[in-house]
Symmetry: C2
Subunit: 512 residues, 2 copies
């Protein structure tokens, strides 16, 4: 058994089931090992940014670490944008990068580069393996680190993949997450009980069903409102789950929302920060007159802390009636607008759907429209590195083959990693992609207007408008995904119904 095979056997024994891969010559022993080791399914992506985004989506939905196999520094670099998002989502990812044979590196071959410098900004764990050492032991450490919610990157020289390695190292069980301190629970309980207007801001597993139900008990007992990050990694929503508000994107609106609150308790997230810094506007959106307390940190046991908080404030039953069918979004009529698209998706999304929202400016109406939809998981762009939606939806569909996936995808950001559609076609994934085609970088036009440039000149316009207009139906068909374009809300409803009823991937282009 060589190092490559022992690495894969170690990963398989640790419960890793898939590997999103775009390998090259320096990973060939690992490629060959997929035929020697059962239990890990290699999934080819035609661009590394698809691998990294799919790994993120898989990790968010499966709860298990996702694995990737990437080629040298430039191949890894192509995946960095979505690893950045995965890092912000605290997704568990185990990366293996094949490197040149160690004895060849001194010759500085054309593809050599400083892989560590490229990988460090996104990797919570990073190691260049000893060329004569045991990849199995390295992999075991990397996977254990990944399980703590980081991107763990192992650089595996070609000679380390080939060297004999009889070991299949066992991955140590993840230690239980640390508990929140009783002082933090008491302080949070005191703050929310006494606050005239209190807020509980949730992140991480605070947004799971268990976390939300505990949070609803806190809200029922204290009258506080429930909030989530602007861009949660995964939020359980709909059905009879308690309603939750989202921190607004622009700092002015977020500052206003928090200015009405006397106290904010943070549960598994940090105090919200403006996405960008605007001159004269604070980047920290909770003002100094609002008291804040940290109930539980992101790396701690969030759900238990919420349950202890609920007990501490008095175990009231949650308020608020569960959503009833009559509340559900009705079929929209007339022209395609962000509102009619939101109503169509929220009105049709099946029970148990996974909704990946990288709709950006065009999907702004969806979050409130979907509040009364059936139970679903809601995934967003955690790190702001656009091009995450199509890959993340792909990985989520691999993780949950029995659940329908809906990707709400802005056309500009979708363009960065459109190759994900091919992997959806190849794997026959049940992903319905709704392209929200406003044919430009609308967020830039909005930001220009915020700086007082309401009528941009030709230079600005050439950097925000798409002309010629890409035809997403042809692009999708080119990758093997059936696609249609719709021209009004009725057609969108009809095509969405059809796409959701048929297995396999579909794409609907929605001009806005």
């Amino acid at each position: 058994m060589n190092g490559a095979e022992s690495l894969l056997r170690t990963a398989a024994a640790a419960g890793i089931r898939v590997c999103f891969a775009n390998p090259g010559t320096t990973e060939l022993p690992l490629v060959a090992a997929f035929d020697a080791v059962s239990g890990i399914r290699p999934i080819l992506c035609l661009f590394e940014g698809v691998c990294s985004g799919a790994a993120d989506g898989y990790a968010r939905m499966s709860g298990d670490p996702a694995m990737t196999l990437l080629h040298l520094g430039p191949g890894f670099a192509n995946g960095i944008a979505n690893f950045h998002n995965a890092r912000r989502a605290r997704s568990a990812i185990f990366n293996v990068i094949g490197d040149h044979a160690s004895w060849h590196l001194a010759s500085d071959p054309p593809l050599a580069s400083d892989i560590e410098s490229l990988a460090r900004p996104v990797s919570g764990w990073l190691r260049s393996a000893d060329p004569a050492g045991s990849l199995s032991r390295d992999a075991a450490e990397a996977i254990a680190a990944a399980r703590s919610g980081v991107v763990a990157t192992l650089i595996a020289p070609h000679d380390a993949q080939l060297v004999g390695d009889a070991v299949v190292a066992s991955v140590s069980e993840a230690p239980p997450a640390p508990r929140a301190s009783s002082a933090a629970i008491e302080e949070s309980a005191r703050l929310l009980t006494r606050a005239g207007k209190g807020a509980l801001l949730l992140g991480g597993t605070g947004l799971s069903e268990r976390g939300l139900r505990a949070a609803a008990r806190v809200a029922a007992a204290t009258g506080c409102t429930l909030w989530c990050d602007t861009f949660p990694a995964r939020l359980e929503r709909g059905g009879d789950l308690p309603p939750i508000q989202r921190v607004p994107y622009f700092p002015e609106a977020a500052i206003q929302a928090f200015s009405a609150m006397s106290a904010v308790v943070l549960a598994g997230t940090r105090a919200p920060v403006s996405f960008f810094g605007y001159p004269g506007i604070s980047g920290r959106v909770i003002g100094e007159r609002t008291q804040t307390a940290i109930l539980v940190h992101p790396e701690e046991d969030i759900t238990t802390a919420l349950e202890e908080l609920a007990d501490a404030v008095g175990s009231a039953e949650p308020r608020g009636a569960p959503a009833v069918p009559s509340d559900r979004a009705q079929q929209p009529l007339g022209p395609l607008t962000p509102e009619s698209v939101a109503a169509a998706v929220a009105g049709l999304q099946p029970e148990g759907a996974i909704v990946m929202d990288e709709g950006l400016t065009s999907a702004r109406a969806y979050f409130s429209a979907a509040a009364t939809a059936p139970r679903h998981s809601y995934l967003t762009l955690t790190g702001g590195a656009i091009g995450q939606g199509l890959p993340c939806a792909t990985g989520a569909a691999i993780a949950c083959p029995d659940r329908p996936v809906i990707a709400l995808q802005a056309d500009g950001s979708g363009m960065y990693t459109l190759q994900a559609l091919w992997t959806q076609a190849r794997e026959g994934l049940d992903v319905t992609t709704v392209i929200l085609a406003n044919r430009g970088y609308q967020i830039l036009a909005i930001e220009l207007a915020r700086t007082g440039i309401a009528e941009p000149g030709p230079g600005c316009r050439s950097l925000t408008d798409f002309d010629p207009v890409p035809d997403w139906t042809q692009l999708a068909r080119g990758f093997g995904v059936p696609a249609v374009r719709v021209e009004d809300a009725q057609a969108l409803w009809r095509e969405l119904e059809r796409a959701l009823a048929e297995p396999g991937p579909h794409l609907i282009e929605v001009p806005l």
Copy 2:
């Protein structure tokens, strides 16, 4: 005038004419400045890897620095693979990355990352600008550095773009490249004159017309053969230019080629190194029994050194008849093969064409077929980071609007940066893309066979075969580029003739 405008005015005054851009909110002052400053044309690319590859192609063909404008760490990261190729090509590139406002960074907003760590591996010059300093002076230093043949990266905080900066710094003239030492010229002359079988290995401007004509004089006087790197950044070829051989890709063939030589003189390149390291095969392909000398280093004045060497060995007229029309590749008939495709392209490419070859395994026959084609510039994948061809062809077409560009593009590598087709359509560029569609990562299958795996198992096959087969004609049309698929060599000839005769971009898919 703010810092953004002073930066652009500085660049325009230094002769920068285009900026390949994919900006975001942190670059908005620079976006707005394009409407205040004339002389620099912003060219939108829908993915940053297109910006970086186009900048490389532009720099190779124009001789002037290319500029890019990219968004924060993840946006820059998407461009790294092609910056890696540009670094290996010694292309002059001036990158500007907008960063968060300095006062906002401490809050660690979602898009914050260690940009310097990401940029360092590809940047020969790197600076994070002082938020209160002068972007103009920083830009002047960066552009001066770029002119020496490096990727120069300036990280410009948002506040530095907004701060007043009345300066338009002038960029110092590039100092003349250092001359080769007379000792090096004498030693090289002695070696080639005495060698039974000598070789002159050329890189950089040694592959320009002036360099090649001087080298031909050396060959005529000494009997040495002329060689170029396996992957030259830019090689002038065809017409009456002297023939040149390319160092073989696989080390066994390269070692064999050099084993027959008693002496090798390096002119503007380094001793060739195997692309990958194979156990038991030397990575340095020139053996110890072959004497080597360095005539001139890549950063020195290569063409003058070659002319001085020609004078030193005795100024003979070059041998070898210029190519005559009857030598030109004839119209191929029958099935599509690497050979028939090579003959069609070499037989039809117009005088003055620019040929970007990222055909990899499928274009292996083109180099010899094109030896007798009319004068052309030949560009290749210098750093091995695939996904360079379509962007590089795009940038070359921007640099040379009066010359036809032909992109020989393997389908696997073309997939990484196919968004380049949109910029070709938008800018109406005269690029004819020939997709060599073998529908798989053929190089991996070859490398597997080299390791003894002639019949790969299902795991290996799933990582090398494309199924479903992408339809490049639909992908191209989706981006606004007319496209056809051909089924035999006659059809290829006909469609190639038509595409080359019509202005604007075209794509021909060639199934192999």
